[in-house]
Symmetry: C2
Subunit: 152 residues, 2 copies
DNA sequence: GTGGCATCTTGAATCACTCAAAACAACTAT
DNA sequence: ATAGTTGTTTTGAGTGATTCAAGATGCCAC
């Protein structure tokens, strides 16, 4: 469970062998209150408190944190990459075809049942990624049809 | 099973209410011999026979065919969109993290077992998309580690 | 054969992201 | 505490994939 305390953020970074910097702390802090957000949204959240921070720095931070498995990157079709702090469990995502909202889903049956194609065609599969496409509450009620290919 | 005969391609298009044009026929024909290919690759395949065809036309054709559910678009993270002619069944994909190769996988357990989050958080899920990440035969044997983040 | 409208061509623009060089700042060792 | 080393960030530019727009073309219905 991620926490909001700066000290913990610092030790998380250090544990991964990463230097503790203001942009990194700010990005991780922002990801505690937002989830499934884009680099732009994170930048917008971080910028007021840390006006010197550049968008490229945010990209760099997100890349480093993703490589270190501190955060997870998800890339639904038609959407810019989104990031979340929940890592290490096998959970999946619901994506609204109307507004692009993303929600978490725990794998319904514990450990991935149909998710073991193992050696098909010589492939060695190492992980499975599932995206459920549907409509979120407000999109489902507000309009029955998506307003003109309003994709993520 | 898609067929190669031009007549059948024409009737497929007409059945979807689409006009039968040279670019569309050529794209569908190309997709009979290639699968999981990018717009660029399709353009390259189509261009020699139909030199007047533009890349934008290929994008347009692919969009129209995708909307008409004649072809399927898959967008693995980090890869440009890929297209395949196999539609209407629930099959999924293996993507090689080394070279980007994509292979089909039939859902191992018939009808999507862990794939029914149904109404989580008010979401109404309509379809599930699975991507298995792994290494293809040649990438698995040629090198044990991916050569420097050689992502799709 | 002709008209109407979908489709294609041409050209430009956008979005999300990456690359590169130089300035800077964390951690390490003194 | 201080200086050095090296990883990060800043600034600025560039790229790939895709989309947008205006006008020309050509498919199909009549």
């Amino acid at each position: 469970m991620p926490t909001t305390r700066v000290t913990d953020i610092a030790s998380t970074l250090r544990a991964a062998g990463l230097k503790v910097t203001a942009p990194r702390t700010a990005v991780l802090h922002a990801l505690d209150s937002m989830s499934h957000v884009t680099a732009d949204q994170i930048f917008a959240a971080v910028h007021p408190a840390l006006p010197g921070t550049s968008l490229q720095a945010v990209y760099g931070v997100l890349g480093a944190l993703t490589d270190a498995a501190i955060i997870r990157r998800i890339e639904p079709a038609g959407s810019p990459a989104r990031y979340e702090r929940r890592v290490g469990d096998n959970h999946h995502h619901l994506v609204c075809t109307g507004c692009g909202l993303v929600a978490d889903v725990d794998c319904a049956v514990g450990h991935a049942p149909c998710l073991t194609p193992s050696n098909t065609e010589g492939f060695v599969a190492t992980s499975a990624e599932i995206i459920f496409w549907g409509r979120c509450t407000s999109c489902a009620s507000s309009s029955n049809e998506p307003p003109e290919e309003n994709r993520v």
